[in-house]
Symmetry: C2
Subunit: 368 residues, 2 copies
């Protein structure tokens, strides 16, 4: 046990690295150190580093200071800065997406936008997706933790479009909901325009010459189903058609559900005798099942039956054969827009609308 500390502690490892690298370690290099090195006051350093106007620091000493910053490897202490300036440049993002990663792109969009705005996103997990009852313990704690970090605003993002109940404490700070909306209607929100999405999907099918279109529906209660179906009806109406109730089948929102629903629709009619020539699947997972049902019957996509999906789940849509034409949910845009909206709010600016709807673009692939 004499001289045996084989797995060197972290600090030592750092020190060891120091000898081999040109960049000095700066643990604890403070503004005061920089000031001393440059032979000026700490105030001068602060002025230079914050690019203050009217600072009346000569170009000469400014250079001296910046040089000292460089050689010492000074790095500002964000916490101390936040404490002194009373602003943190942090936003908190509470989300169940980490748990159920359907809509990760919301995080990506928000991250990127925050990065552009030179702000930091603190991401805290939520469990609301599972919580039917008021099992919001974790979630409340998450918001609480974020407020302890003195975030300037909160983002609240859901995996799928729905109404949510937001913890009380979220009202203490500007808050924006993404891919969900406040059940109490108080908080601003950003949601996909499901209706327009459904419309664009069906318009695409109509444009391809289909007039008899089967619909594989989701659970009819969720906002996504309502909106998409409504858009579908609108598009048909504009073409002078209407949706044959016999052509709507609801199923479980899985591949199996889609398979069964597609079987039902396809077997209900003889070919040419009312059988649809196209299927609008309200999500991609169901489209995946529908593919199987169609292929099983010896039919070709898109020659015999065209298929269009919704959600653009890359892993499915881009890898099905043929690749699936589908409508994308604008996750990334919603994330970015959420951060922008929050930025407006925290800056005290008015926001354009209480609920902002983002377009769902059509992604052309090869199934229509």
């Amino acid at each position: 046990m004499a001289n045996s500390t084989p797995p060197a502690p972290a600090a030592e490892a750092g020190a060891a690295t120091r000898t081999t690298t040109a960049v000095p370690i700066n643990r604890g290099v403070t503004m005061a150190d920089v000031a001393k090195a440059a032979g000026v006051s700490r105030t001068a350093v602060s002025f230079v580093l914050s690019n203050r106007e009217n600072s009346s620091i000569s170009e000469d000493t400014k250079l001296r200071i910046l040089e000292a910053v460089q050689t010492l490897g000074y790095r500002p202490n964000a916490g101390a800065r936040a404490l002194a300036s009373q602003r943190s440049d942090w936003y908190g993002l509470v989300t169940e997406i980490v748990t159920a990663p359907f809509a990760v792109d919301i995080i990506k969009g928000a991250q990127d936008q925050a990065w552009l705005d030179r702000r930091f996103l603190l991401i805290a997990p939520s469990d609301q997706a599972d919580a039917v009852g008021p099992n919001q313990g974790m979630e409340d704690a998450a918001v609480e933790k974020l407020l302890e970090q003195r975030v300037e605003g909160l983002l609240y993002a859901a995996t799928y479009h729905r109404a949510v109940h937001v913890p009380q404490s979220a009202h203490e700070v500007p808050t924006v909901l993404i891919n969900c909306f406040d059940a109490d209607g108080k908080l601003p929100s950003i949601v996909p325009d499901e209706r327009a999405g459904g419309r664009v999907a069906v318009e695409r099918l109509l444009r391809a010459g289909h007039s008899r279109i089967g619909v594989i529906n989701l659970d009819p209660d969720i906002p996504a189903a309502v909106g998409r179906l409504e858009g579908c009806r609108e598009a048909l109406a504009e073409a002078g058609l209407e949706l044959d109730p016999e052509l709507i089948v609801s199923g479980h929102a899985t591949a199996d559900g889609g398979y069964e629903a597609a079987c039902e629709i396809l077997d209900k009619f003889e070919a040419g005798a009312g059988r649809p020539t196209a299927l609008f699947c309200l999500n991609d997972r169901m489209a995946m099942g529908a593919y199987d049902a169609i292929k099983e019957r010896g039919l070709a996509i898109p020659q015999d039956i065209a298929v269009i999906g919704f959600d653009n789940q890359e892993l499915i849509a881009a890898y099905l054969r043929p690749k699936l034409t589908t409508v994308a949910l604008p996750f990334e845009e919603m994330g970015a827009l959420g951060v922008q909206t929050l930025a407006s709010l925290t800056a005290g600016q008015p926001i354009t609308a209480h609920q902002q709807m983002v377009d769902c673009p059509l992604l052309e692939r090869y199934s229509v």
Copy 2:
């Protein structure tokens, strides 16, 4: 324009909420306020809130203080605390996963573990996945930003198992790599045990009675392919078999690639005349393509041909028909283990191994 400020600024909104809710808003409630309310010194409050031993605060005043905390809605200021105590309880997670969300579960595992340890994870995006050249600007900036926040340690997570180059500044602080390893071999890392995974997959096929097994290989250069194939060979060897080179086909790591590779293998032999009765696809996307090739030939899974995948990409494996038996990458475990390892490092404790390998469990479904 007289009395028109319709979109009330954030602060006002907060104030408005105050009147309708029982919980008071606490913007700016500080320890001093609590102290005043309880009629004690700020120090006393600090002692009570930090549960300090030997604090010699009477039960009586302790209660008074806690009550004041409650009624005022005091919330500690994490930044100030970090500044004073010289520890932030933050870890930084740099990752490209946000960009290419293949391995989100790493984030989930890390988040959950960090939450358990009452630490906060600051997630910063990286672009390394795309960056063949030294386009590490963003990434360096990310590490820099994290260090400015005075994170106590860094986690570095990749979407797929590979060697990475870590920015210099990451060496200033304890750092652990997840799902990747340091090209320079200096930093501790956590990776999946690909070899054992390949082995378990093939053992499963052998156990089902298959002795002639086709392999749909990945790009043979990446660690995943090397390890999985090695494990495959080991399992075969133990059964007294060896891998027929004719049965290995490499393809692009997509569904199309898997489809083509499967076609090649299946069409190379007559049924019964050397044609494999099982396929080991080195990832699930390729298995997805293989499914098509098999079904196209009128063969049934698993009756005529068994298929086993790798990666357990839920969206694919759980929705293919029949559902795909596959080997899961232990993303969540790796994330959690990463945080634990980092915790050891920052605590100055030795870590068990420089490179920790995590098992890849077999997920039984219905394709074998």
